[in-house]
């Protein structure tokens, strides 16, 4: 792997010194001249009619510049299914419904004004359980759909039905069958930086939105459409990212607060900032989509999987955001994790008066993999096969076409399984039932983009100045994952410069080319592929410049030498060495002839050529700039929900060793080995950082985290009661980077942003079973659940 100078090295992160010294400008730091502060009034009921709103007292408060309700702004529908409005006028359907908004000269005044707004409600019957909500006599969350047609059921018009092969045949071929009920709950993404934006119009109604979005271009399009729908036809929109303090899925949709900031800015003609408090972050941001699964799978006598059948019910909450589309990713592990010929998967999304859901790291995959992988252990037990063995028997292989039509290219899943098996001492430690146990789980995830839109493209522009500095206008975003560092390594490699020569500008729709968004673990893969192509163009320009100008530069230097040193002997140079671009190369910021890289005269700093090329003096001056727009050769899912939606897939296996206190129900993680297929690690430290962070997030998902809702209300909207793990709770995570360079990946890389989280919770659940013989398939696995299960088991045995 030493063929590369910069990729594969743990180059330190670039902007992090600014972050740790407090210089980086997050949205909370951003100030614009004359800026006002917006605050939102939320509903007091889970479901109610708004009978009246009196804002007169709030309007009179000194410092208040605008008070808006649903009556003051056009009733334009927004969101994925266009099932909500920005401010709710007649009905509220969840506690986080935005009822009114204030802009004032300080956040405190805005807050005080909210307290002066009087809203009269008439409570309506509500429904909080998706299974209840599917019943015929359940209260309807929506009376009409986006087109104004009456709605008869809480079931979303978004059926997810996938089938391949023949389930009945699979059942017949089965020697063993396992059936399980699995439940996952709401968890908050817990970004360290809370949500916020600044909206600012110029006098021509052009909008600049400082937004934390991960999808600047899709986000911009939603805002453009919104402005159009409220009557601002010619308005231009520029979306700019400040430094973003975490996303984990939260910045994938354009949230209602952003539209509200736009409305307040429009009304006041001033820049308006909305910044969430931590409490709002918990109450008013869409969390991870919860799911209820019924999973059944079988295998034959040899352990070969025969079928897998999954029914899922998703509590959609009151409106529809990306949570409702997570089945498109759930489908991937359900159909394609291990080789299973017959698959059926149905998911039903149901409106309730609960909080609505969004994307979160893994996008449905953690939920579905929790079902698939705990069920794999059930099946292993039924069949009397070692769970690791069952996984190896059914292991995915390179070249395979899965029932979902995913084309598996590189696939070191068997290596991942065997690696963690060895590290955790599988054979020795398993099956003791002595309070200590081990378990494993694997994953498959998109690692080469994800075609959820007609374009999965990504643009990049590379320009090189006369000093040899490279400016990259990059269409993705950095939410803390360290993309700028990795991209500068890849650009340096592709262009022949050094990473420190490269600076990255990203997250600005006015400067950068289009991009589908920094999601789906796609940034390194996309940016790298685009960068290689753009750098190719830029490099060619430099080499052409070199052919053009190098001889003069060399001759000039020689002449000078001759002048200064009378004894100097003019060398007899073979200029054919540099007569064509193909004969030259650039590395480490030096141009040199390929045939004689250390040539004493023809090896020169690239800035010499660039300076000359820019200042020719005859009308032939040139700048160096290369751009590329890379759209991978992938497919959209077809009507049957099949298609190769990513260029390549990542695999991985996590093995966990736990100790369970049978008296308290507490689970302690003794060891966690996470082996991940990353193609080639562009920056090993950053890869490990992703694996560590994701594994901890997975431990929280598995053991402690849950947004507690009671009748639709979030009861634990703070870090005291929301049990995100702390630095003191670190468990020994060992990331194991499995490298098998992928032909489609830039320099062989695959995406690794999400995978680490996915198999963690099921590996823990499986380890708990190995330790104490109870299987808990309801997340999070709290001490109480463990104790209840143990007591139940003891009761059954006595």
């Amino acid at each position: 792997m030493s063929e590369y100078l910069y990729v594969g090295k743990s180059t330190p992160r670039t902007i992090e010194t600014d972050k740790v010294t407090g210089r980086a400008v997050y949205i909370s730091d951003l100030r614009r001249p004359g800026m006002l502060f917006g605050k939102i009034l939320y509903s007091r009921y889970a479901h109610a009619k708004i009978k009246g709103i009196d804002t007169s007292k709030a309007e009179k408060l000194q410092g208040v510049r605008a008070v808006l309700t649903g009556r003051d702004i056009p009733e334009v529908r927004v969101g994925f299914l266009k099932d909500q409005t920005v401010l709710k006028k007649d009905v509220v359907r969840q506690f986080r419904d935005e009822v009114a908004a204030v802009a004032a000269t300080s956040p405190e005044i805005a807050e005080e004004a909210l307290g002066l707004i009087e809203v009269e409600y008439e409570e309506l019957p509500a429904v909080f359980d998706p299974i209840e909500a599917m019943k015929e006599d359940a209260p309807l969350v929506h009376e009409i759909d986006a087109r104004g047609r009456p709605v008869r059921s809480n079931i979303l018009p978004l059926p997810w039905k996938f089938s391949a092969g023949d389930i009945e045949q699979g059942r017949k071929d089965s020697a063993y069958i396992a059936k399980d009920n699995v439940r996952t709950t709401w968890v908050n993404q817990c970004c360290m930086g809370t949500s916020g934006c600044v909206a600012e119009f110029d006098m021509n109604n052009n909008l600049t939105l400082y937004s934390q979005t991960n999808v600047p271009f899709l986000g911009k399009q939603r805002i453009v459409e919104y402005l159009r729908n409220i009557g601002l036809k010619g308005s231009r929109v520029r979306v700019v990212n400040p430094i973003v303090g975490g996303s984990f899925g939260t910045k994938l949709d354009t949230d209602i607060y952003e539209f509200i900031a736009v409305q307040l800015a429009l009304r006041t003609r001033k820049p308006v900032k909305i910044l969430f408090t931590r409490e709002e972050e918990f109450r008013a941001l869409p969390p991870r989509q919860p799911a209820i699964f019924e999973i059944e799978q079988g295998c034959d006598k040899e352990g070969k999987l025969t079928f897998r059948k999954v029914e899922a019910i998703l509590d959609n909450g009151a409106y529809t955001s990306w949570g409702a589309t997570t089945p498109s990713v759930m489908m991937m592990p359900i159909s394609s994790l291990y080789r299973v010929p017959n698959v059926s998967f149905n998911a039903t999304c149901v409106y309730t008066n609960n909080i609505y859901c969004q994307a979160m790291r893994g996008y449905g995959n953690p939920q579905a993999t929790f079902a698939v992988e705990t069920s794999m252990d059930s099946l292993a037990e039924e069949a009397g096969i070692d769970p690791a063995e069952l996984r190896l028997i059914n292991c995915n292989k390179p070249g395979e076409l899965t029932p979902m039509r995913l084309k598996i290219t590189t696939c070191p899943l068997d290596r991942c399984i065997k690696t963690v098996q060895e590290k955790i001492n599988w054979k020795e430690k398993r099956g003791k039932r002595n309070g200590r146990g081990i378990g494993m789980a694997s994953l498959i995830h998109v690692a080469g983009g994800a075609r959820v839109y007609k374009s999965d493209g990504h643009g990049i522009m590379v320009k090189v100045d006369q000093n040899g500095n490279v400016d990259v206008l990059e269409s993705g975003t950095d939410q803390g994952q360290g993309s700028p560092t990795v991209i500068s390594q890849m650009v340096a490699e592709a262009l022949g410069f050094r990473p420190e020569d490269v600076s990255i500008t990203l997250g600005d729709t006015a400067l950068c080319l289009w991009d589908a968004g920094t999601h789906a673990s796609r940034h390194t893969f996309m940016a790298g592929n685009a960068a290689i192509r753009a750098c190719d163009k830029a490099k060619k320009q430099i080499l052409e410049m070199a052919v053009e100008h190098m001889p003069e530069i060399v001759e000039y230097k020689l002449k000078r030498k001759e002048r200064k040193d009378p004894d100097f002997q003019m060398p007899d140079l073979d200029y054919s060495l540099i007569s064509e671009p193909d004969k030259l190369d650039i590395k480490d910021r030096y141009i040199f002839p390929k045939n004689q890289p250390e040539h004493p005269y023809f090896r020169m700093e690239v800035s010499e050529v660039l300076t000359r090329g820019l200042h020719v003096g005859t009308g032939e001056s040139k700048v160096v700039v290369g751009e590329a727009f890379y759209d991978p050769p992938t497919e959209m899912l077809d009507r049957e929900m099949k298609g190769n939606y990513s260029c390549t897939y990542a695999f991985g296996t996590t093995a966990v060793e736990v100790e369970v206190d049978r008296e308290t129900g507490e689970v302690k993680i003794l060891n966690l080995f996470a082996a991940h297929d990353v193609g080639r690690a562009m920056n090993p430290t950053l890869v490990k950082g992703q694996i560590y962070g994701a594994a901890y997030m997975g431990v929280g998902y598995g053991l402690t985290e849950q947004l507690q809702l009671r009748n639709g209300r979030v009861m634990n909207p703070n870090f005291r009661d929301y049990k995100m793990l702390t630095a003191k709770d670190v468990v020994p995570v060992v990331p194991l980077v499995i490298e098998e360079p992928d032909a489609d990946g830039p320099f062989g890389a695959k995406g690794i942003g999400e995978p680490g989280l996915v198999p963690t919770a099921p590996a823990i659940a499986n380890a708990i079973y190995d330790a104490i013989g109870v299987r808990i398939t309801d997340l999070p696995i709290t001490a109480e659940k463990v104790l209840v299960a143990l007591k139940k088991k003891a009761g059954e045995q006595s």
């Binding site: 008296e663 402690t704 507690q708 634990n716 049990k723 702390t726 709770d729 001490a783 109480e784």
Partner: protein, 290 residues
């Protein structure tokens, strides 16, 4: 808008002058980790905050016969004290688990006790160490046994114009071993789901000469489980005896366990049963290893 005056008196005398001047309008603040959180949560502040931070001479841990701990001693000081760790171990267990290092650097023992939350971590250790609370007001000093200090949730017998000066722990408690268990879901930034402190003194014959058991989050205030203590007196230090003590301590005769969003009552009850014996054993081990 949240607004208040902030006074930083230089000595106790000045504190009393200010308390007299502002009366009801004033609130004392030591580390502020309860006071400021409450102000933020309720969005209401007292008119005046009187900071005790300059009373540096109220931050100390001394042994002179008995043990004396200044009212403004921070949890971090307790955590770093060898004396506390070896001789008042339960207090060390509790203090070193309050919040986080950052919180422990400012939060005080006096504040924890005066705030009188049912979950106050250091209350249970102070109860099993028989601490007395020394209060000083305009009328002079008085001593209140900690078991009589809490009047209700967030209520104590301290008068608004009194300052908590010191905690006194009798010399004889040095012969006890003690331990505190904070049962929680995380290792930091946590309130106990239930807290269990035990101190024991064993005879040569391995009988329980004397013991104290205290619980947090088991009632509206931190409490002693007297019935369980009575049961233990003179009994052999065996698993069976300790198990029974746990059952008594967890019964409704000792505590009033509630189901809350944080935890269900049955689980709290179970944990008292488990941790009374575990802490008693740990306490006993600690005497031996001294």
């Amino acid at each position: 808008m949240i607004d208040y005056e902030y006074k930083i008196p230089a000595d106790l005398h000045e504190v009393f002058t200010l308390l007299k001047e502002y009366g009801e309008k004033a609130t004392l603040v030591a580390g502020g980790t309860d006071v400021m959180v409450k102000i933020r949560n309720t969005r209401k502040a007292p008119e005046v905050l009187i900071s005790l931070r300059r009373l540096e001479d109220l931050r100390y841990i001394r042994k002179n016969g008995g043990y004396r701990i200044g009212g403004l001693t921070t949890h971090r000081m307790l955590e770093l004290s060898n004396l506390v760790r070896t001789e008042l171990s339960a207090l060390h267990d509790a203090a070193s688990q309050v919040g986080s290092v950052q919180v422990r650097n400012v939060a005080t023992l006096g504040g924890n006790i005066c705030n009188a939350a049912p979950s106050a971590d250091t209350a249970a250790p102070l109860l099993v160490l028989d601490a007395a609370v020394v209060l000083e007001g305009p009328g002079g000093r008085r001593r209140v046994p900690i078991a009589e200090f809490f009047k209700g949730t967030y209520r104590t017998v301290k008068e608004p114009d009194e300052v908590l000066i010191e905690f006194d722990i009798p010399e004889k408690m040095g012969a006890f071993g003690s331990a505190y268990w904070k049962h929680s879901r995380r290792k930091a930034m946590e309130l106990p789901l239930i807290g269990i402190a035990v101190s024991v003194k064993l005879s040569e014959a391995n009988e329980i000469e004397d013991s104290r058991i205290a619980l947090t989050v088991a009632a509206p205030t931190p409490i002693r489980a007297y019935l369980a203590e009575d049961f233990l007196r003179g009994k052999p230090f065996t698993d069976q005896v300790l198990k029974e003590a746990g059952e008594i301590a967890s019964s409704s005769e000792c505590c009033t366990l509630r189901t809350s969003l944080r935890c269900e009552a049955w689980y709290r009850e179970d944990m008292i049963k488990i941790f009374v014996p575990r802490m008693a054993k740990l306490a006993a081990e600690r005497i031996k290893s001294r």
